[in-house]
C-alpha cells in the first residue's frame, strides 16, 4: 500500500534550462570577469567556483619594460572557458572596433571559441563609466558588419537598448547600476522595460544584466525579473572571500532563474493566512 506521504527526492535540479547566446547554448547563466583579483590563483579558484563557462578579459598593451613574469592566460584553461574580450577603456566607436579586432586576433591564436565575439563598451566618461549610446550603436553596427557577435554593454535605458538590438547586437546587456558600484539593480522598472521591448515578438533574445552587482541577492533579483543572465566581476573579485562569493553567485543565479520560471505570487496589501481558519478553536476577533 502506498501512502500520500511517500515521496522521493527530486532526481535532478529543475529549471536549469540552458541559455542560448551567440549561436551556442550554455549551462551557466553567469558570466564573470577576470579583473581586479589580488592573485591569479584566487581568480582561478573563483572562476571554478562560479560555474561560469564564459569569462571576460580586457585587451591591453604588452609591457615592454618591467614585464611581469606571469600572464593571465597561464591561469585560464582556454579549453574550459570561452573567452569574451571586452573593449573596456574605449571612448569612441573607432577605438572599440580596433580593440575588438585585436582581441579576436589573439583568441584566434589561442583557438578559443571566443574568437569573433566581443563585449562592446563605448564609454562616455571615466568617472561614471556610463556608456555612450551613440558610440555603442556605431561600434555595434560596424563590428556586426565585420562578422562579430556583439554583446553590448549599455545603460538601463530601454530606448537605447532597442536601438542597439536593431544595430545587430547578439545580446543587449543593460547595467543594473554603474560598473563596480555594487548597488545592484537600481531601476527595476527600466530593466523590466528593456526586457519587454527587447523580447517583443522575440522571446528568446538574450538580455544580460551587466554591471553593478554587489552581492548574491542582486544576481537573484536580476534573474527573477527575467534577465537571461548576469555578468559581474568586482562583486566576486573584491569580496573578502572571493571564492566563497563565487559559490554564492552561482547559487543566486540558479535560484533567481528558478524563481522566475516558477512564477512568483502577486504582491498584496493584506495578509492571507497560510493555516486554515476552519476548525480553529480560538477566539477570532470580528467573528
Amino acid at each position: 500500500m502506498t501512502s500520500a506521504k511517500t515521496s522521493t527526492p527530486p532526481a535532478a535540479e529543475p529549471g536549469l534550462d540552458p541559455l542560448a547566446l551567440a549561436g551556442r547554448t550554455w549551462n551557466s547563466r553567469l558570466i564573470v570577469g577576470t579583473g581586479k583579483y589580488e592573485s591569479y590563483e584566487t581568480m582561478q579558484r573563483a572562476l571554478d567556483a562560479s560555474g561560469a563557462e564564459v569569462v571576460t578579459v580586457a585587451v591591453r598593451r604588452e609591457r615592454l619594460i618591467n614585464k611581469e613574469g606571469r600572464s593571465l592566460l597561464e591561469f585560464i584553461d582556454t579549453d574550459r572557458y570561452t573567452i569574451l574580450p571586452n573593449t573596456a577603456g574605449c571612448f569612441s566607436a573607432e577605438d572599440a572596433v580596433r580593440v575588438a579586432r585585436l582581441g579576436r586576433e589573439i583568441l584566434e591564436q589561442l583557438n578559443n571559441p571566443g574568437a569573433g565575439w566581443v563585449k562592446v563598451e563605448v564609454l562616455h566618461d571615466k568617472k561614471t563609466l556610463l556608456p555612450d549610446p551613440v558610440g555603442t550603436i556605431e561600434a555595434t553596427r560596424e563590428l556586426v558588419a565585420d562578422g562579430f557577435k556583439v554583446l553590448a554593454y549599455t545603460s538601463d535605458d530601454p530606448a537605447s537598448a532597442v536601438k542597439i538590438k536593431e544595430a545587430g547586437a547578439a545580446s543587449v546587456m543593460p547595467a543594473g547600476s554603474p560598473i563596480g558600484s555594487g548597488q545592484g539593480v537600481l531601476n527595476r522598472n527600466n530593466i523590466l522595460l528593456c526586457l519587454e521591448l527587447l523580447k517583443e515578438g522575440d522571446a528568446a533574445y538574450p538580455v544580460i544584466v551587466d554591471a553593478g552587482v554587489g552581492s548574491a541577492s542582486d544576481v537573484s533579483v536580476a534573474m527573477e525579473i527575467g534577465a537571461d543572465g548576469v555578468l559581474l566581476n568586482t562583486a566576486i573579485a573584491h569580496a573578502k572571500d572571493p571564492v566563497m562569493m563565487a559559490h554564492a553567485m552561482r547559487h543566486a543565479c540558479i535560484a533567481g532563474r528558478q524563481s522566475y520560471l516558477a512564477g512568483r505570487i502577486p504582491k498584496r496589501l493584506y495578509a492571507t493566512a497560510s493555516s486554515p481558519w476552519e476548525g480553529a478553536i480560538s477566539y477570532i476577533p470580528g467573528e
Partner: protein, 69 residues
C-alpha cells in the same frame, strides 16, 4: 645604415630599416606568446607579421589579454 624611428606602445624606438612586425616582436621577447599587432591603427594579422615591414614614423601597438570585466 640609418635606423628608422617608430613608436611602440607609446614609446619611441629605433629599429633597422626593413624590420618586420615579426622581427620586432622577436626582438622584444614576445615571440611565441599570444600577441596581436596593429600598425597605424590597422590590425596586422599574424600571418602577415613576417612580411610586414615597418617604416619611419609608424605607430605600433602590441597587445595581449589581461584581467577585465
Amino acid at each position: 645604415m640609418q635606423q628608422i624611428r617608430i613608436t611602440v606602445n607609446g614609446e619611441p624606438q629605433e629599429v633597422e630599416p626593413g624590420t618586420t612586425v615579426a622581427a620586432l616582436i622577436e626582438r622584444l621577447g614576445l615571440a611565441g606568446q599570444p600577441c596581436a599587432a596593429e600598425v597605424n591603427k590597422a590590425l596586422v594579422p599574424k600571418r602577415d607579421h613576417p612580411s610586414r615591414e615597418l617604416a619611419e614614423g609608424d605607430t605600433v601597438e602590441l597587445v595581449t589579454l589581461v584581467g577585465g570585466g
